[in-house]
Symmetry: C2
Subunit: 296 residues, 2 copies
């Protein structure tokens, strides 16, 4: 696997792939890789074909952190990341530096407006999605991929990026990879590394609440407040847990609704002793593999 440390190196690699007639599949990440990321690399390979060139970027983007402490604490595990990508058959890893990405008085931002950025994570994280849209646009223009793959766990993010790609006429196909979960049902996230065993037990209330809501919906409960209550009930029983939001929203614009239907997701964010975790369930969709009886 090639390691590309500068924009010039990435551009040269891209040029080489295009000259050879190879498609480029791209997975942008902030590192601290886990099996969820690796599933996206494999998804990129499956979408683009065996002949394609797959590149992963690892870059912790400062402009998407509204909280400087959160940025500082974000896990960085570059050597392990590179080993995982090599093992997964990734062709290149792009590891740029902030001094180059935001050089010389950077002053341009890409911003999606409207309902997609008015609810859920946008409320507690002002500027977050502007930072995401900006850095993803930059990475797309540097890497020039044919296909880019994002995880469904960050649902609002991937819908915003899809909107942006359509609106800015970027010649890139966005593909969504399904959420990968631990054996106990916890959605994989780089932030899970910060959970102690005790915090982990508290965190499991999130997907248990989502799955209980999903079961209730399948048994005809459509009241959004009642569906959200499952998340509150399963999480707030633990000391040190706060619920940022638990909201029923309709796809694809994520507008909050009072009555759920099968175009809706219940999305939630909680804090477990200060660590922010998000997850969601497509109402009426596949069950989240949790043991609903345990710990209740």
């Amino acid at each position: 696997m090639q390691r590309l440390n500068t924009i010039a190196e990435q551009r040269a690699w891209t040029k080489e792939q295009h000259a050879a007639g190879r498609q480029i599949g791209f997975v942008p990440t902030m590192g601290a890789l886990h099996a969820g990321h690796i599933s996206l690399v494999k998804k990129a390979r499956a979408e683009c074909g065996a002949d394609a060139a797959i590149v992963v970027s690892i870059y912790v983007n400062p402009t998407q952190f509204d909280n400087p402490e959160d940025l500082e604490r974000y896990p960085q595990t570059l050597d392990a990341d590179i080993a995982m990508l090599t093992a997964a058959g990734c062709d290149a890893v792009f590891v740029p530096k902030t001094a180059e990405i935001y050089a010389n008085g950077h002053a341009t931002f890409v911003e999606v407006v409207g309902p997609l950025v008015e609810g859920l994570c946008a409320v507690a994280r002002p500027g977050h999605f502007r930072g995401v849209a900006t850095v993803v646009t930059k990475l797309f223009n540097i890497v020039q991929p044919d296909v880019a793959v994002f995880g469904q766990k960050d649902l609002q993010q991937v819908l915003i990026i899809s909107r942006m790609v359509t609106d800015l006429n970027l010649p890139i196909r966005i593909v969504i990879g399904p959420t990968v979960r631990e054996a106990d049902g916890l959605a994989m996230s780089s932030r899970n590394r910060r959970l102690t065993p005790d915090m982990r037990i508290k965190a499991l209330g999130l997907q248990r609440g989502l799955e209980l809501a999903n079961r209730a919906f399948k048994q005809s409960e459509v009241n959004a407040v009642k569906l959200a209550e499952f998340v509150y009930n399963e999480t707030l029983v633990h000391p040190g847990v706060d619920v940022d939001y638990a909201t029923v929203v309709k796809l694809p614009n994520l507008v909050e609704v009072e009555h759920a239907d099968d175009q809706c997701v219940l999305a939630a964010a909680i804090f477990v002793d200060g660590v922010r975790l998000i997850d969601h369930v497509h109402l009426g969709g596949a069950a989240i593999p949790v043991n609903v009886e345990a710990d209740s």
Copy 2:
């Protein structure tokens, strides 16, 4: 010359040029073409070489008009435009429709922030440069040119676009073509079509004021207020003329200064019976060809 009416037609043309190994030179316009635009087409040819493919877009972008009346009155002369481009040896003209450019709930904007968008035309035209940056990003992603050429007359615009191209890592080289003037010194503009002979006489005060300031600067006047006064004095003598601004700013960020040096321009915008005209002079630079004695 090929006429491309849809995004798909433009993309197919671009693909064809790239497959043939040809560079693409691009001149985005809002139509109502004049000799200034044609000079940009020729500049694109000179920059990209005889083998290159040159494409001009004609699109009156609604998101850059803060004033709906101004949008409605913007001159449209498509048949004449196409004849001029054909005569100039242009290879293709891209004439998209708003229904396609801003389709399906468009909600993404590109915005430059900071000093470049805090003064001059940005003050009187809120949202104008956001609309320009957004549509130019879209056109760049559709046309995928190697080189794009903009006129120096719209100095703030081309500096904002250059900033945006750098910041978003767009793989495009921005080239500036010099302002083309009528025999009487008036900077060419599509809006000049709206000037009656009487209004035209009033309009000439603008470049006369700029040139008098330039002469004063060359004779050691550096006080920005005094330099700007030449514009006020030469224009406000006419009934129906208003000065929007006359300001000495420093390149490349267009920060207003109190004392001019040779890195400065005096930029001005006036209204002549409601028609907005802009012009500027690089202090210490080439003279504007005006008859300073006439009409004073």
